[in-house]
Symmetry: C2
Subunit: 420 residues, 2 copies
């Protein structure tokens, strides 16, 4: 590697001559002195310079003597620097990366993602996303789950039918998977406990702040549950583990974005759908975004908690593989987890007996032909099981307060956007 110390390590080298390397974050010429601020993956270093300075986003190596500097970004700076340019930019960046706040509209940011994401605030969101995914896996590894990788190209558009991308698969019609649902259930029959972190695809025709055509789904599925409450207990562990991972792995990003992480109580409050209906004076079989916001606010007020489980959604509003509540068969053993005003996770107990699948499909007016591969698992004995799925981008948006989910992924795909 290019021999260098990182910005965050300067304190260990006071009085010594060192070399740093990174991008010119900012050059400032004052009357009597100039400053060069260099950005590397650990932070910023200021060099007290003289003479001509390379422009912003030049890639440089700077050798200098480390000195305490009260005004310097990390408390230390380089004096008597020698600057070597490794690569020059062709044009100035489309936004000033050194300004504390991103002063560009979202389309400008997205059109210029390869350079815009170098802005410390935009980068920070992606660091929190990466730390979250690491916490998801870490928690489930600890609980005996096995990671799986499932097909993203599938032969039938069965799970919802709508909003699916079609493709030509060696001359046959095929589709991009909208979720790993069927596969993770089958693999719960192999490993009992499985998870997947991977892309899912929705041909979402709406241009909203909360939908993407591709997002990263955090999926888990586990067998030998009594009912959905065991799944909710694992999800509680996962959410706590994700937050702990963010706290540990991305403290600087949290500070930059001024994020206050939520507390996760030992048991997240839960209310039944019928109670949620009563509280929101709703007669509908589903909750609107406004009602989700109201319930989330209610949970904060009543339970001092930013999370709220809503359980027992009507069977009519859940997919055919949902397990009914044995005590109230019109309602399901399905749940949503609301977080800061929005549904963050959907999950539940699934059917596990083959005959129940055949019946559930028949009740919805569907045959079993399109589901043969899926139903195989149930033909050979499956334990009571359930699981959940969380969108990584939506999680990151809720955590960082990003108004638009497009700000929480590097290169979003939507109705209009297919590049960069």
């Amino acid at each position: 590697m290019i021999s260098r110390v990182m910005s965050a390590e300067l304190a260990e080298h006071v009085g010594r001559r060192v070399t740093i390397a990174g991008w010119v974050h900012r050059r400032r010429r004052l009357k009597s002195v100039s400053f060069l601020v260099v950005r590397d993956r650990t932070g910023l270093t200021q060099a007290v310079a003289a003479g001509d300075l390379p422009p912003e986003e030049s890639v440089v190596q700077v050798s200098g003597t480390v000195a305490a500097g009260a005004q310097a970004p990390g408390g230390y700076e380089l004096v008597s620097p020698e600057v070597e340019v490794l690569a020059e930019p062709c044009v100035p960046p489309p936004l000033d990366l050194y300004r504390p706040v991103v002063q560009a509209a979202l389309p400008t940011v997205l059109d210029h993602a390869p350079v815009a994401l170098r802005h410390p605030l935009l980068r920070a969101g992606l660091e929190i996303s990466a730390a979250s995914a690491a916490g998801f896996r870490e928690t489930l590894d600890r609980l005996g789950f096995t990671e799986i990788h499932t097909p993203k190209i599938v032969g039938s558009a069965t799970e919802s039918g709508a909003n699916v991308f079609g493709l030509d698969y060696f001359g046959r019609p095929a589709y991009l998977a909208q979720s790993p649902q069927f596969y993770k259930q089958a693999m719960a029959g192999v490993f009992e406990r499985v998870y997947e972190v991977g892309p899912v695809f929705r041909a979402e025709p709406h241009d909203t702040a909360r939908h993407l055509a591709q997002y990263t789904s955090l999926d888990a599925e586990l067998g030998f549950v009594r009912d959905h409450r065991d799944v909710m207990a694992v999800l509680r562990e996962v959410v706590a583990g994700m937050l702990a991972s963010v706290r540990r792995r991305a403290p600087a990003a949290l500070g930059l974005l001024d994020v206050t992480l939520p507390e996760v109580p030992a048991e997240i409050p839960a209310i039944h759908f019928t109670e949620a209906q009563r509280l929101t004076s709703s007669g509908e079989p589903d909750l609107s975004p406004a009602q989700e916001r109201w319930l989330s606010e209610w949970a904060r007020r009543e339970h001092g908690c930013e999370f709220l489980f809503v359980t027992g959604y009507p069977m009519s509003k859940r997919p055919f593989y949902t397990h009914p509540d044995p005590a109230r068969p019109g309602y399901s053993n399905g749940f949503d987890l609301l977080f800061r005003g929005m549904e963050l996770v959907t999950g539940g107990q699934r059917l596990h007996r083959h005959e129940d699948y055949v019946r559930a499909l028949a009740e919805r007016g569907e045959g079993t032909a399109a589901y043969e591969g899926y139903l195989q698992a149930f033909r050979y004995g499956m334990p009571p099981h359930g699981g959940f799925a969380m969108g990584l981008e939506r999680w990151t948006a809720r955590l960082t307060g990003a108004a638009n989910v497009r700000q929480t992924t590097a290169f979003p795909r939507d109705l209009h956007r297919l590049s960069p």
Copy 2:
């Protein structure tokens, strides 16, 4: 959760009455006694039973008293058992899961993956795969890399043109990404060091034992390298970390499959392409599979090493973004890593100056228009960088000795196979 102890924990409960849960792996009726072998995610438990026993793949809970049993799978068995059936299979499995060896042809296994993968040997391969991916991430996390998630739907089929799946993206033509190459390079401009574990897609028209239409690519990219040798040094750490992870996380799977893990020397031997040509008496600008096998054998013989780097492939055989060897511009700073007779990893140093990209594309008779999004990163200053990509399935196949890469992924996709 259903209250139970796991098979692997029986030794801690000798003399006590416990409940286990899992699948009926085998029932055996002898003259004077019957045995029920139950499979859970940690192993097998034998119960000494009487009376009618549920058939194979029934999901059961078995309560019994733990006793030492020299003939029992883990050295302990359950006596005086009570068996409760949680779910019954509809039909017997298409292959005997209890036989030590898989006695079914590959198409049968693949057609019945949801049940066939329950066979301990098939399951073991996937456990090794999961442990390997965990080791990949763990090593790179330790080295300061950041995980990224990049688009799998792209607007132009630029990287190779051929073997790409086309799809309809809201009425516009789009393609499934063949690699995250362009995106990981751009993100090396943001985080310096990035990795991605995700699916890539190749419309591979050949029906061979080493090609899949979807596979899991382990991708890494890092900035501030001197040249490709720094990339090779990181790859060496990654391979060692993957093996250590397999050793730690999947010892039972290694035992079942009788896998001998390779040693990774502090420095993996490397030879230049021209030397590889000389050794194999080849005049071709690339190495054939037979030559790769020969070289791999040679490395084992000469260096006592199952890995071999071949460096300096001719520029004409590498993609346009490959950095040439400054001392011999017809040859590249690109490398392959051979492992047990096959190319396992491809990598190298990339171009990092915008003008070099413009020139490289022009030399190949291409304009820059189709590459605008990609070239953005280089317009704004990029450090010298490089990276590599490894197919998780191919790695697992080499490690476990699987003859066909389809045996190392749960639900393979190929020219003919789109389900389950």
